[in-house]
């Protein structure tokens, strides 16, 4: 959809244009912006720092539950527990963000994650391949799944929703067929291939409990954030999501960017699969049923626009954390878990509303 083209049509725009007509010529010819209302500044903030609002919501949510629950919630243990609980969704949300920034969507992230973890487990136990090599094979499997989606989207020009809806089913079915629906037990893993459980290992700092997976999630998000902002690939990814035609005319290989984005997303999902083994302890082909929806939720609450070109991976991690804070906080309050879903649902709608508002009124 060419939602960008339709943005200047709102009524808010016409009043702004009227202001410009009355402004002295100097304002037209320079890049000066004239007076800014508080609302304008807020909008610019939403624009320039898409992760700012989710961070604010996260801090407010922690503060609110801290006030309601006191030390039980506001403790190093409980707060780091949230990190452990959102670790998988957080990693997958990083992958999902990359795809959504290109105005796509990846419904197959959860399936790729589980399939990759199953490949890692079965390579080790069925074929006796060393765990290190099995991990590499698993990561390659995820990247390959992503590459297939990427090629279907960019070369065959199929809609990302349909491609990944199909890939979701294909990969999930492959997962069940390949694994014969067998779970590899935690004890076997610990005995023969402890490397697969690496991201489940934890260490304590005071009352805080960190797992290697949590550290990995933070490092991954920071790394991808850096890459998006400091490499040409990162900027091209935004440009392709923003306006693919403009990106192409500017000399960007848009197809190459799209294929690489889906491939990297697949790779990150496979990495999440490795982390999933650590989180569960075992290799289970039935794990992560809702990861795709949860990752999209985190990305949207994190302020990334579903229309592409706007957002950040840090926002998505904040989005995942917001969900985690609400889940744990409401559970500790003893409310019906449905309240959590209700709150998350409302947050999604609010987040998309803010994005639309920012698009309409700036410019």
């Amino acid at each position: 959809m060419t939602s960008h083209d339709s943005t200047p049509a709102g009524t808010a725009i016409s009043t702004k244009t009227a202001d410009r007509e009355n402004a002295p010529l100097a304002d037209l010819t320079t890049f000066g912006r004239g007076r800014q209302t508080l609302l304008d500044r807020f909008q610019n903030l939403v624009h320039a720092q898409p992760a700012a609002i989710p961070l604010l919501v996260l801090i407010l949510a922690i503060a609110a539950f801290g006030l309601l629950l006191g030390g039980k919630f506001f403790s190093a243990f409980a707060l780091t527990l949230i990190l452990q609980q959102v670790m998988i969704v957080g990693i997958v949300a990083v992958a999902q963000t990359l795809v959504i920034l290109t105005a796509g969507i990846d419904l197959s992230v959860g399936a790729i994650m589980v399939f990759s973890s199953v490949v890692m487990g079965h390579c080790t136990f069925r074929y006796g391949i060393p765990a290190e090599v099995a991990v590499v094979i698993g990561l390659a499997t995820g990247a390959l799944c992503g590459a297939v989606s990427g090629m279907l989207v960019s070369l065959v020009r199929l809609p990302p929703f349909i491609v990944t809806l199909g890939m979701w089913q294909v990969v999930l079915a492959s997962n069940y067929l390949y694994s014969s629906n067998e779970t590899i037990r935690s004890q076997d893993l610990a005995e023969h291939a402890p490397l697969l459980q690496f991201f489940g290992e934890s260490f304590r700092i005071g009352g805080a409990v960190f797992t290697n997976g949590v550290i990995a999630m933070v490092l991954l998000a920071a790394f991808i954030h850096f890459v998006l902002n400091n490499t040409a690939w990162g900027r091209h990814l935004y440009a392709v999501g923003d306006d693919p035609v403009a990106a192409q005319l500017a000399g960007i290989n848009t197809r190459g960017v799209l294929i690489s984005v889906y491939t990297v997303a697949g790779l990150i999902c496979a990495f999440a699969g490795w982390a999933l083994i650590g989180r569960l302890g075992s290799v289970s082909p039935t794990a992560g049923q809702f990861t795709n929806i949860e990752s999209i939720t985190a990305v949207v609450i994190g302020g990334t626009s579903l229309f592409g070109g706007r957002g950040s991976v840090l926002g998505s991690v904040f989005g995942a954390l917001i969900v985690g804070v609400f889940s744990l906080g409401l559970r500790m309050l003893g409310t019906d878990p449905q309240w959590t879903y209700l709150m998350i649902g409302a947050l999604i709608i609010i987040a998309v509303g803010i994005d639309q508002w920012a698009r309409r009124m700036v410019g």
Binding site: A48, A250, G309
Partner: protein
Amino acid sequence: MSSADTILSARNLFKRYGRVVAMNGADFDLLRGEVLAVIGDNGAGKSTLIKTLSGATVPDSGEILLDGQPVHFTNPQSARSAGIETVYQDLALSPSLSIAENIFMGRELRRPGLLGSVFRILDQAKMNERARKELSDLGLLTIQNIMQPVETLSGGQRQGVAVARAVTFGSKVVILDEPTAALGVKESQKVIDLIKDVRARGISIILISHNMPHVFEVADRIHIHRLGQRLCVIDPTQVGMSDAVALMTGAKQPPNEKT
């Protein structure tokens, strides 16, 4: 005219789309440092001509010479790397990226040393500085934030960013496709001034426009395109606006001797 003064020329271009002949032996000459306006009625084939010069269309036959050397453009990138930049009518900017990022889109500068070559890290400070310099050289920038997203700019300002992008990389020829079509009166005037500034840098400009007052204000020569070929080239100081329109529409025949 001597070839030393001609920067870009085309001879005998043909292009057919099925039965439609879009270019029927079209010729074209752009002199060094001039603003050449290209006008023609809808369907005269001027956009096919322009697309051919900017690399977006490959002609069936005919030759294009840049600085006297034959060139064969297969896509806009090949034309661009030869020094022909096009500012498209819809500007081809990425709205949510910054001014600096748009100017360097597809031609980013990397950090010197290993950081740039191995880790491929961008030199954003340098890009921002060069973007700022470019805009202020063009008289487009006083103080403002080079990191501002393009979608917060007015239409004229965006046109300025697109033109700045076209002239930042040492281009020889800039093609401007209807640069004032979407603008108000004041902003159009600003863009006309901008075209004069770019010409003052010695860059040759091809201006496609339907707006006769703008064409007559800024053009050094006017190429009139009709029925897939160059009808004539006129001197705007010698020929009036109504005569130009009459030539364009076929109401009047060109004088035998081309000016």
